[in-house]
Symmetry: none
Subunit: 224 residues, 4 copies
DNA sequence: CATGAATGAGTTTTCATTCAT
DNA sequence: GATGAATGAAAACTCATTCAT
């Protein structure tokens, strides 16, 4: 279109402004992702690709260009969830006494999850191995160590226990948030009670083997 | 028909057991139900009616004759689950000290659920209102009262808390049984720890309102 | 086979009380037919054989024993319609002046059809060749002849014309009876007007050929 | 590629007519519609969506993309019928003396309906409210007024009467066209006779109420 | 004979995915 | 790259008809 005799004018355009397209593409990706989150919030994983496309204001072909599969799209929906998890860990570490940070984290995760309304709990299953996920574990571990040192956490509670606790908690929130949006709080307190030190606790942590098998399998329930 | 060795024994049989037909039908019903449980075990609620029919060795029309709807079939799958729950409550009550019965019940439910392998946890949601379900609640309540009296249970722990705990536990078992069939045990211990009395416990139970809303809603997570 | 020690005792029974069975069978037939008329009234030809059986209080096998096919049942439903037609012809002939009988007949048929509420119009199509049907034609013809002689009917109006008129009329009643149960009356008057003599009428009747083809074909629209 | 005689004319075409895609789609739509009309002609409304797809040479999904429901497809089949009706009204108005136009219209509708062979009569019932339908009424009314003024139509004949007459006529044609494709002509003449003025006519038109109920109900039998 | 259980082809409709434009 | 038309494999459910009891 810029060359007078050029037939493949689209291509020529692409060459002239290479980032223009990339920019548009990125914008489209974001719009699709936002739309997907929206429909996921409404229908859960039963949403339709066409619905996502319509909500994003793009053609369905565009959705498939960015996310070659519905599964891929679901994973992309799940990613920010882990990003948020990491930021919550840091928020807990920064804004609270070390003795409190572990408990604060758990409360934070639950509270935000309930407030958000997206049943992302179901998304944990995506076999997602993103760098961000790997970083969560150690930082949570640090929180727990501090709490243990401060004597506010049962010494035998491991990072894995907390992972499972958070999965359980978010599952419960997902399952009850619609009809009884506060009932999880009671359960949260019970669980936190279980984490506090007391003379009677002597259970031994889950076997390392069991845990590794769980982590390596898909779907996984683990944090990082 | 007149001689005892008469060849037309079918007729004689028909007379002897006038519900022969119903008997065959009942047998088919069982086969369908068994097949359904089997495919549910494999695919979860996403199973196909046709698959059930094939597995049962009957036509698809037969499946629909017994269970006019996929939902009806799902409920039929769920029913024995609640029946088993009730029998487990009684088993716990009969075979253990009152002080221990509550804990025994929880262990029993979890253990059997894990052994069974069917992800019946997902079935709690069926809006099933069968007499059997109504009977579970009071009997569990009795167990808890005894444990409370014996001082082996935190006094503020209600029947509702136990309901949610069991739902959580079975969900966890469902989610991990394939890959890490023992990890739920650790979590069970943690949860049981949380139920034991200790100086620090002072959380108040979930509000009656919240609970009623949850119970009346469908899907429900409650025991009875 | 007829020996006293015969195993096929049913047969023996049948022999002992031959009309007993026949009597029961006839009763069943009637019940099925009545039920079929009932469901036809409600659902039109879209009714279900099972519904008929249930309404009749018999098993579906019994329905099929009496009417080997849904079509056969439909035809059986249609039969009394023709019987009634014949009786209406006679009623018209007996209770009115010859000059009026033709018009009376048409009014009678329409009125009863509307009052009955069964959309039997759709049933004319059954390729029903019952003796009763053959008798209708000549008797109607006689009525028309009398009316022609009395000068109250256009001389070129044939029995066939009346047949088609009645088909048309009942179809209209069927189609409008639910929502506008009187509108057919206006149309009836228009049609009757068209049958009365007037200077201008000179159309020639339908060709005999056309008519015969129609009569011999199925579905047919003719009276007898 | 850029030369005017280039073989890859599609691309060039695509540029020239940017609605090429829509054009193809439209072509497919027409093919589906034509196929639907064809199968409707053969089986009536009992046709199968799959049959339509096969006949149109497209996948069944394509049929559903254009007509999201079988009902929608039926309505689409019915639409041209009404369009044709309107054009016939105009044709009658333009090509004949005002005194004759009403009769010409009725003859035209019947003749074309018979020639077409599609039993569209059954389609009048579709609760179709398309602009075209609204325009038919007034134009027919005008024809009737002219005929009334010219003394060729009974003064009490209303637009509604003609509507019902045409419904009746097309129903008759539908019912007889296969086996006796001319018999409706006789009936047409009888009906037309009924419309002509004569000293004896004094029936009053259908009550306005009855008519309105009929028009507002669905399925409707009315023209516009 | 009566029963009703069994059958399975057939129907409408949905939706992830591909591909021509 | 974007678009949305096309695809067709399922899936849930229906119902006329057969046949064992």
């Amino acid at each position: 279109m810029n060359g007078p005799t050029d037939g493949t004018s689209d291509h020529a355009d692409a060459k002239d402004r290479p980032d223009r397209l990339r920019c548009d593409a990125a914008r489209n990706r974001e719009r699709v992702l936002a739309a997907a989150l929206e429909v996921y919030r409404e229908h859960g994983p039963a949403f339709t690709m066409e619905e996502v496309a319509a909500r994003a204001g793009v053609g369905i072909g565009t959705v498939y260009r960015r996310f070659p599969t519905k599964t891929a799209l679901l994973e992309a929906i799940a990613l920010p969830f882990f990003e948020r998890m990491l930021s919550q860990v840091r928020e807990a570490a920064e804004n609270s006494e070390p003795a409190e940070a572990a408990e604060v984290l758990i409360r934070l995760v639950a509270e935000r999850h309930a407030a958000d309304g997206v049943r992302t709990g179901r998304l944990w299953g995506s076999a997602l191995s993103h760098p961000v996920r790997a970083r969560i574990g150690p930082e949570v571990e640090a929180l727990l160590a501090a709490a243990r040192a401060a004597g506010t956490l049962r010494p035998d509670i491991t990072y894995e226990d907390v992972s499972v606790l958070l999965w359980t908690l978010t599952s419960l929130i997902d399952a009850t948030n619609d009809v009884s949006p506060n009932i999880w709080r009671r359960y949260l307190e019970l669980a936190l009670d279980g984490l506090r030190p007391s003379p009677a606790n002597s259970t031994s942590p889950a076997s390392r083997d069991d845990w590794l098998r769980l982590v390596s399998a898909s779907p996984v329930l683990t944090l990082g």
